[in-house]
Each structure stands twice: as C-alpha cells, then as structure tokens.
Amino acid sequence: MSDVVTLVLTQAPDHALVANCILPDHFAALSAQEIASLPVTHGGRAARLGDFFKVSGERSASVRLEGNLEKVEGIGAGMAGGELAIDGSVGRDLGLAMAGGRIDVRGGAGDNAGGARPGAAKGMSGGEIIVRGSVGDDAATRMRRGLLVVMGDAGRGAGRGMIAGTVVLFGKAGPGAARFLKRGSIVSLGKLERPATFRYACTYRPPHVALLFRHLRAHAGVPVNDRHLAGRYERYSGDFAELGKGEILQWVGE
C-alpha cells in the first residue's frame, strides 16, 4: 500500500482514449500491475491502461494523473469515493454519473463533466468535482446530488435538467444554462443568460453560499474572494417550465 497511486501519461493517444477504469475507490484494492492491466478503449480498440500510463504506487484511494489528458475520456466515471488529482486538462465525461469522492482538475475539462450517461434519468449523485479551468457543454446535466465547481467558463447547457445539487460557475456560462432545472442551485459569479422561465425573488446574502465557499477554501484550496464569499446575490427561482424549486444565485456585488 502506498500513499498515492500516480499515473503518468507516457504514450500520447492518437484517438479518444476511454479510460473509465480510472477510479480511486477501485484502485484502493489493486496492485500496480493490476491497475496497469485495466481495460481501456483507444479509438474503439481494446487496450490496457499500462499501454499509455506509467503506474507507480498501489492500493490507495488517492490518485494523481499527470500529462496532456485532453484525449482521455471518462476519467472518474461512476467514481464512488477517494481523491483524484489531475495535473492538466482532460477530455469529455469527467466524473460521469459520479457518486462520491473528489476530483480536482488543474486544467480544463471537455463536454459532459459531472454529467449523465446517455438516456439516464440522473447524472452525478454525489461527490465533488473542481475544475480550475473551463468546461465544455452539458456540465452537470441531470445532477441529482453533489457539487461541480468551474473556475473558468462553462459551455452550453450547464446544469441542464438538474434534479438537485450545486453548480458554482466562476466564469461566464454558455447559452441554455439552468434550463429545465427541477431543484438545485447554480451559483453564478460571472455572466449567465437566464432562461425566461426563471423569476426574480430577492437580493440577499445566502448563508449557505458563504458556508460552501469557506469549505472550498479550507478543504480544496479554491481561492474564493471575500467579495464573493460575503457578497449579495440575486435569487431567481425556476425553472417554471419544470418544478420551479431550483434557483440561480447571481452574484451582484459586495
């Protein structure tokens, strides 16, 4: 057993590399050799994780990924626990349908980060994903529970069809964000084009936002400004095309 399992990308993939076997909660019970033998798909062909990554460490739920991972997809898909720290940007389906644990990406992520499997009624059901860069389209789609923090911008449809949970967007959000929100919160510190089916409620200092931001500062090292932590937010209830029990909290100033 080691403190951390480290995967260093040694063979850059030519095509999409689906590596949904990268799961800290599974790695906790596997040797380095077993981890290297896990199946991946490269351009639709079967391969082994060890064909692309050098594995060091074993039997740990703390995992570190290094390298240019923009073509690596499905990292942490279905993850239920542990910690995944990623140095660099990753491809689509990061933390797809994740249930627990934490993913911290020191880079960006592709489409469907913290999203749902095709046709699934719900997406992420727990855990935390922090993306220090930007994310692609459909982030946190149909989220049931959990937290997605995007410190850059989000593409189209962030938080679409959320059932509950929290999305924090530091940057701007693309079109269609929060559409068909049932419950749940989208905390927007940048520009977000609200659907017409949301209604203004009030401007206030939501106590749970301060609590959340203090948690992110203390436990994830997210550099949240005081003006956001203690700031005023406009609350918009919606989506009234759905249940209308969700909210967009739009930061408006100190």
């Binding site: 529970r145 959990g146 929290t166 419950r183 919160s185 009030c202 206030y204 200092r205 939501p206 106590p207 749970h208 301060a210 609590l211 959340l212 203090r214 948690h215 436990h219 932590l229 029990k245």
Partner: protein
Amino acid sequence: MKINGVAIEDTFAEAFTMRVARIVITGRNLKWAREAALKLTGFATSVIGCKVEAGIERELAPAETPDGRPGLSVLFLTMDKESLPQQLVVRLGQTVLTCATTACFDGLPDAPDRLTVGKALRVFGDGFQASKVIGGKRYWRIPVMEGEFLVEETFGMQKGVGGGNFLILAEDADHALEAAEAAVDAMTNQPGVILPFPGGVVRSGSKVGSKRYKSMIATTNDAFSPTLRAVTASQVPDGVNSVLEIVLDGTDGPSIEAAMRVGIRAACRPGVRSISAGNYGGKLGPHHFHLRRIMSNGP
C-alpha cells in the same frame, strides 16, 4: 490544606452522568449570537425544575465557526437520551430560529449519536425549505421573513457530567458574592464547561427530598443555611455567615476539574473561611471531584 489562608475541606463534589450536546450559534455580530444564546439557555438552571441544564460555554472567534462569523458555543445537558432532542427542537425553534441573523451548527461533529434536530426544525419551512450537503454534512435552509435560517441537520450527543460543584463559605454575604464573582470570572470561557445558574452562582443549594413535604424532590440545604445553624444539624462553621455554591456541568470530568481548579483558586480571597463541596455520601453519582486532589494537581 489552605490556599491564601482559605481552608480547602477534605471532601468531594458528587456529580452525575448526563447527556450533552454542543450548539454553535453564529450571528452577524456577537451581539445577535448572544441574544439567541441567552434566550436559548434561559430557564435551564437545573433538571429538577427545568428538565435541561444549559449555558454559554465560550465565545468563538470567526475563524472557529463554520460560517466565519462571530459566535458562541452552548452546552445542553439532560438526564436521559430521549429528552435532549425534544428540548433542543423546542428551544432552538423558539429562540435561535426566531433570532435575527443567526445560524446554528453542531459542536460535537465526532459524536456517533446523532440527533435529528435540524431535520425536525425544517418543517417550519412548510415545504419551501431546501437542503444542501456541504463537506459531507447536510444543512437545512429554512426560508424566513429576514431571508434564510441555516441549521445543521444533525447534532452530536455524548455522555457528559452534571453537578460538579463547590461551596464558598464566607464571613458575610458581601465577601461570599465577591468570591463567587471572582470564581465565575476565572471559569468563564473554560472549554467544555458551563455554569448553568444565574451569574454562575447558586444561593439556594438543595438536598434530596424533604423532611416535611412528601411531594418535594429537592428542598433547601439546611445543613449549609446559616440562619438554621441553631435548629438543624448544621455544617456551617463558626464565623461563617453566608454560603454560595458554584455548579458546573461539562462534556467530561477533566474539563470540570480544570475549571474547578481555576475557580476555587480565584475564590480563595479575604473574607472567605473555607471551600467545601456538596455530595450524597458518594452513593448516587459516579463522578467524584475531590477538592484537595484537584487543587494539588495541575498548574
């Protein structure tokens, strides 16, 4: 044994195992956190009549509270497991939920016994309430006219100690009160301890039962009442004309001992003849705080 010329009697305080919860109340500033805490801990001096014993444990700096605002921690103690959540729900609902700017958090996060206090309070939201899981803990956001009241879903409960005490036997009432005030000042903000009586001081120490009234479960401690020296089996020494008691409840025995140590030392001042303690012969309570041992140990 004497401290500053004050005799430390060779006796012990006898205390009981209780159930304790720690409540952290924060507010926009300390004034509002204190307003809530004072209402919350009102009429909570003794389980004999109040069913709960409660008090402010200490002030909390913003860095010590979950939401980074000034706050206070409050200890709540009952004799049994069942009544603690009942008391918390009723009291928090009427005093902290109603108090402007406050939020309410659990102060015993590691206690395995969890009381679903916030979960019970959430229904005040009439279906408009919402929950958030932050750092693995669930919080309830209850909409109120001011904005939102935030309360943690569960609060920890653990075994605590109730009924630690010491008696200040003084030449007159003025000196007894001065000594008691000095002791309370010294014990204020001691971690893990509250002084549940008014100003931290009890003038009406009690004995179990009654010599005359069958319905009374506690009556005046005639043995330490100076005006009864001539008509009862008095324990009031010559030259003593007033006795005040300090009662301490806490999360554990060592915390109570530490507070008693600083409190007794502060109470040993001119005009005080001796320090004693209340007990029942050691047969009722499992926790025995021997005065001389406490004062011989520690700093």
